[in-house]
């Protein structure tokens, strides 16, 4: 690991000031991606700004069925929180399937979505459940937040503060996971709230995406039969040693059907 200066501010303002003062600064949340990256010398920040002491990034609040989760809340706490398990069980279940227990005890919601790994689980949750990302500058709909592979709408130095999930009618997340890494080869979130039905897919493409055709079909009739004949084109999907694009395209249908079956 290359040497870097280290700061552990107590407020968002101080954190951003430290970020802007440094050349090529890096925020540190749970560190489950950043620290391995630093160890491999793939990054060389001059200063690492540790977000671990900022109270404004912590905590989970629920009101009228909606849930807001602080950016620094770790996956294990999302999985275990009674209000999330009650109001958005699919989100708690999704969080319980990220990585392994040690990773879930460190990795955070904000860190994960800011990194936007194409095989990570949370993007499917945020887009599928119609969440809003509150940053230090604005509120962003999840659809606008995830812009590309490892890319988000966040400007340099802008921080995710919390993520709000609206009241839910029903949802299920089905993941076909890589057995070694537990990352999603394909993960599908099927969800319904007052604004309609959403089908969001992670792991299959360069960035999370929705399937409007399935959403429309499920709005007409919420059943496996309604989406059984919808074919996903493999053209824009990921292909690697774990799965071809065609295999991923097929898996999207299978995972979506299984998710529908769980909540139909």
């Amino acid at each position: 690991m290359y040497a870097f200066a280290y700061q552990r501010p107590n407020t968002l303002k101080e954190a951003q000031a430290a970020f802007y003062a440094g050349e090529d600064a890096s925020y540190l949340a749970g560190g489950q991606t950043l620290i391995p990256t630093l160890k491999q010398r793939l990054r060389q920040p001059s200063v690492v700004v540790d977000l671990g002491a900022i109270a404004a990034l912590k905590g989970i609040t629920a009101s009228n069925g909606a849930v807001s989760i602080g950016a620094a809340v770790c996956h294990a706490d999302v999985a275990a929180a009674p209000e999330i398990r009650k109001l958005i069980p699919a989100l708690a279940q999704l969080a319980s399937q990220i990585g392994d227990p040690q990773v879930r005890n460190r990795g955070t919601l904000g860190g994960s979505i800011a990194n936007n790994d194409p095989a990570s689980d949370y993007p499917a949750a945020l887009v599928g459940l119609g969440a809003t990302v509150r940053t230090t500058a604005r509120d962003l709909a999840a659809d606008e937040f995830f812009t590309g592979m490892f890319e988000t709408a966040l400007a340099a130095g802008e921080l995710v503060v919390s993520v709000s999930f609206p009241a839910l009618r029903r949802a299920a997340y089905l993941k076909f996971r890589n057995p070694a890494s537990r990352y999603a080869i394909v993960g599908v979130m099927v969800a319904e709230n007052a604004r309609g039905i959403r089908v969001a897919v992670t792991g299959a493409g360069p960035v999370v995406f929705r399937i409007p055709e399935m959403e429309a079909a499920l709005a007409k009739e919420f059943s496996i039969g309604a989406i059984q004949n919808i074919c996903i084109a493999p053209d824009a999907l990921n292909a690697d040693i774990h799965a071809t694009a065609a295999y991923r395209a097929h898996l999207i249908g299978v995972m979506a059907e299984r998710a529908v079956a769980m909540i139909a």
Binding site: Y2, Y6, P101, R106
Partner: protein, 169 residues
């Protein structure tokens, strides 16, 4: 350099460290607590697992400065002061929970964390196996480890349903 104060195995330790020093390097290199192992050094094998404020973490994927103000428990802090093994350590010895022993410190720390996390609910073989996702053993095939954890949990007073565990070779 950054000043940190960490309570390691009940002892408060103040040190001045480079920010890039990993927690596992601090434990092994600075404090000479070499029971915590570095296996893969890539966040996968879990040999470096320690408890941070009672929760399992991979000490190779954390900076020492991030543990400032917190409690760290390593394998050296598990047995009683007079050397009497913790029930979980005893169970590993009793039920052939190790062969070469390299992964064992991490296995025991993960086992303690999982027993703690599942207090008040049945600790089935499925739960134990699922919770061991972050710990790799390349010798035993896990049968002995799963059996040990079920037995250790029972000895610790958890509702382990360990009777059915470890039947297959």
């Amino acid at each position: 350099m950054t000043d940190i104060t960490i309570t390691v195995n009940g002892r408060q330790i103040t040190a001045t460290v480079e920010p890039r020093l990993l927690l596992v390097e601090f434990l092994r290199g600075t404090l000479l607590l070499t029971g915590t192992h570095v296996g893969c050094d890539t966040s996968q094998c879990g040999a470096c697992t320690v408890l941070l404020d009672g929760r399992s973490v991979k000490a190779c994927t954390m900076l020492a400065v991030q543990a400032d103000g917190q409690r760290v428990t390593t394998i050296e802090g598990v047995a009683a002061a007079d050397g009497t093994l913790h029930p979980m350590q005893h169970a590993f010895r009793e039920h052939h929970g190790l062969q070469c022993g390299f992964c064992t410190p991490g296995m025991v720390m993960s086992a303690l964390a999982l027993v703690d996390r599942h207090r008040g609910e049945p600790l089935t073989e499925t739960v134990i196996r699922n919770e061991l996702e972050g710990n790799l053993c390349r010798c035993t095939g896990y049968q002995g480890i799963v059996k040990s954890i079920a037995a250790g949990a029972k000895a610790m007073g958890a509702k382990a349903t360990g009777a059915s565990v470890g039947g297959a070779p």
